[in-house]
């Protein structure tokens, strides 16, 4: 049963299994275990980023191509829903239309980019995607009639997903089950389903071909697999998944703007999560996302306290200043590429 659900790709390590079960239970029961808006927000962000990072791992870890346009696809998904909900506030039809439009645009764009840049040299791809993504971000902030420009869009979701809605009259385990929690469970189950679907994809024969291409593209081509086609399809799949993650984020935040969906900063976050968690395994994406987002939300507070405690010393307070947290993660990132190329999960599985 569990084997089928996980497509035969079990964690293969006791510690990792415990960690994965803890993450699953923690997220499944988050509204009851950690009440409070901030905690729930963190949990929902983790759910969305698990999908987003796993879809990036599909490209980076499984196929071995580096894309810097992943946030663009994430943003397309988010903006699809946001624009539709902005035009038709609070309707489910808008969400459906937005999902369809976002998915179609993201996949089509991914296939086009893939076809003209993966065709020649895979190394072009990293540069081309970086250029396209940055142009897209400027485009999104310039088309202010459609996207709300720099300010982004704030919109109304269906009433079932708003705090005004009450699922039960009474409290459940001391928590009032309102639309916010319904929204959380929508995000959670969608994320879980998408994660399991991706697990299915990477463990299918198609996924094996992707891994073969990563290991040795020349040999894969010699065996009769058209590497360009497989890489392009993987790129399209990753883009589609990223767009769906964007949809979930748009439904959760009820706000979509260039800084929260399209910025290069998020791209770098995704890169850090994949590498620290472990490339080439979807569990790594999950572990990386959880650690990174918890660190981002709570480590900065810790660093602020440390910075104040060490205020008298030269330089050190600046080094542990909350704004410098990316410095430490960057160093951790470089070290993990050198010394733990398989990330945390690879270590645990050894």
């Amino acid at each position: 049963m569990i084997g089928t659900l996980l497509s035969g790709d079990l964690p293969r390590s006791k510690v990792l299994s415990v960690v994965m079960v803890a993450i699953l239970l923690g997220l499944a029961l988050a509204p009851f275990l950690f009440p409070g808006t901030r905690a729930l927000n963190t949990a929902a962000t983790i759910c969305v980023f698990i999908v987003l990072v796993a879809s990036y791992d599909l490209l980076l870890g499984y196929t071995g191509i580096v894309s810097f346009a992943h946030t663009m696809f994430y943003g397309i998904g988010a903006y699809g829903v946001a624009i539709m909900l902005d035009r038709m506030p609070g309707s489910w039809a808008a969400i459906g239309l937005g999902v369809a439009a976002g998915l179609a645009v993201a996949v089509a764009l991914a296939l086009v980019i893939g076809l003209f840049s993966l065709r020649v040299q895979a190394i072009f791809f990293a540069m081309v995607t970086l250029a396209v993504a940055s142009a897209f971000m400027i485009l999104a902030s310039q088309l202010s009639g459609l996207t709300g420009g720099e300010d982004g869009l704030t919109y109304r979701v269906p009433r079932v997903l708003t705090p005004a809605f009450k699922l039960f009259q009474d409290k459940l385990f001391g928590v009032r089950v309102d639309g916010r929690i319904v929204d959380y469970y929508l995000v959670f189950f969608a994320a879980l389903a998408l994660f399991l679907l991706m697990l299915r994809i990477v463990n299918s024969p198609f996924g094996r071909v992707l891994q073969a291409i990563r290991e040795n593209p020349f040999r894969a081509e010699a065996l009769g697999y058209r590497t360009v086609v497989y890489r392009t399809v993987a790129n399209g799949l990753g883009a589609g998944m990223a767009a769906l993650a964007g949809v979930l984020m748009a439904l959760w935040q009820k706000y979509t703007g260039p800084d929260t969906t399209l910025s290069l900063g998020i791209m770098i976050d995704i890169l850090l999560m994949v590498v620290i968690g472990g490339m080439g395994t979807l569990y790594g994406a999950a572990v990386g996302a959880v650690i990174f987002i918890l660190a981002k939300n709570y480590l900065q507070g810790l660093m602020g306290a440390a910075s104040e405690a060490l205020a008298g010393l030269p330089l050190i307070p600046h080094l542990v200043h909350p704004d410098r947290w990316l410095l430490w993660l960057g160093i951790l990132f470089i070290l993990s590429v050198y010394f733990f190329p398989t990330g945390i999960v690879g270590r645990l599985r050894k």
Partner: protein
């Protein structure tokens, strides 16, 4: 094949047909063609003159920054995302020197002004060259031959460098005013020629000519070009390609620093993110020109500079996508760039 029987008198090699020779030269004619088409489309001579100068200045600056990147790739197959960090660091170091020499910058003497700028440029080049050496040692060396790791690690280096800039120079952007003699423009009739742009074009042209001279006329340049074509063969002939590579890496980083100072003076504002933003233009140029090719890089840089300025005037809405469009068109026409070299 009757000639083979008589090796003493080899047949003169017939020159290739004219059409073929013209096709090989085609990439070099794109920039003049763009200038002419620009004139036809804009139709207004003074505006065209200003835009062309601005485009050439922008192109020259991008070329200075991109040349190092393309040579490093050509020689050692290393794609360095950290190149953007050298641009930022160069700009910040240059700005610090110029702010420290504030008296020289505002003095009403061209020579003092130029001395301040030259001091800033030399300091920036020394610092970024040294930084490049350290970067090559610590970050790039362990990941030769693995593209994926190179991209990841150099990107990590870029993040760390950007954070260190914040740490040293503070989180705010720094406004930078040009020295007195380089402000303003010369006006001939209706054509306004901005002084700083002339300097940028001159500096860029000097660097291109010097680089070309070094690559074509010196033994070192010969070895570098041979290394780009086939590094293993050069190694087999007894030359240490590694030393060449370190040299090129340091020189490329120093050029990035120089480009950073020029770009900072051009924009008159420097931020820690500017390296990454310019890096995107640099990548487009390098892809258009063909990875590893200095001439291609030069042509590509001028094309990007002119394209950005012409479309900015003709169709401002299109301006930001114009460079991407240019890249797509070039890649469809020549999938390996305009003037590809060596490795396939």
């Amino acid at each position: 094949m009757s000639d083979t029987s008589n090796p003493a008198a080899p047949a003169a090699i017939a020159p290739p047909p004219l059409a073929e020779r013209l096709a090989a030269q085609l990439p070099y004619w794109i920039v003049p063609a763009m200038v002419v088409v620009g004139l036809a489309l804009i139709g207004d001579l003074p505006a065209w003159g200003t835009l062309t100068l601005a485009g050439l200045a922008m192109g020259m600056m991008i070329f200075v920054m991109a040349s190092g990147l393309t040579l490093v790739f050509g020689l050692m197959d290393v794609l360095n995302f950290g190149h953007g960090a050298f641009i930022s660091v160069g700009a910040f170091v240059g700005a610090s020197v110029m702010l420290a020499l504030g008296g020289w910058m505002t003095a009403p003497s061209l020579w003092l002004n130029l001395a301040a700028v030259v001091a800033a440029i030399l300091t920036a080049m020394a610092v970024t060259g040294g930084l490049g050496y350290a970067f090559e040692r610590v970050i790039v060396r362990p990941v030769y031959g693995a593209h994926l790791k190179q991209i990841l690690v150099t990107m990590g280096g870029l993040i760390v460098a950007e954070e260190l800039i914040h740490l040293i120079w503070g989180p705010n952007e720094i406004p930078l005013t040009r020295p007195l003699a380089l402000r303003g423009a010369w006006v001939f009739g209706e054509v306004a020629i901005e002084k700083y742009r002339v300097l940028a074009v001159a500096l860029g042209a000097i660097i291109f000519l010097a680089l070309r001279w070094a690559l074509v006329r010196t033994k070192l340049g010969l070895l570098i070009r041979a290394g780009v074509e086939n590094a293993e063969m050069v190694e087999a002939l007894g030359y240490r390609v590694r030393m060449l590579f370190i040299l090129v890496f340091v020189a490329g980083s120093a050029l990035a620093g120089l480009g950073g100072v020029m770009w900072g003076l051009y924009e008159e504002l420097i931020t820690a993110q500017m390296g990454l933003n310019v890096l995107i233009l640099v990548f487009i140029v390098v892809i258009i020109g063909g990875l590893g090719s200095v001439e291609g890089c030069f042509v590509g840089a001028l094309m990007v500079g002119l394209m950005a300025n012409y479309t900015g005037y003709l169709a401002p809405k299109l301006a930001l996508g114009s460079n991407i469009l240019l890249m797509v068109i070039v890649l469809m026409w020549r999938p390996r760039g305009l003037l590809p070299v060596g490795k396939g």
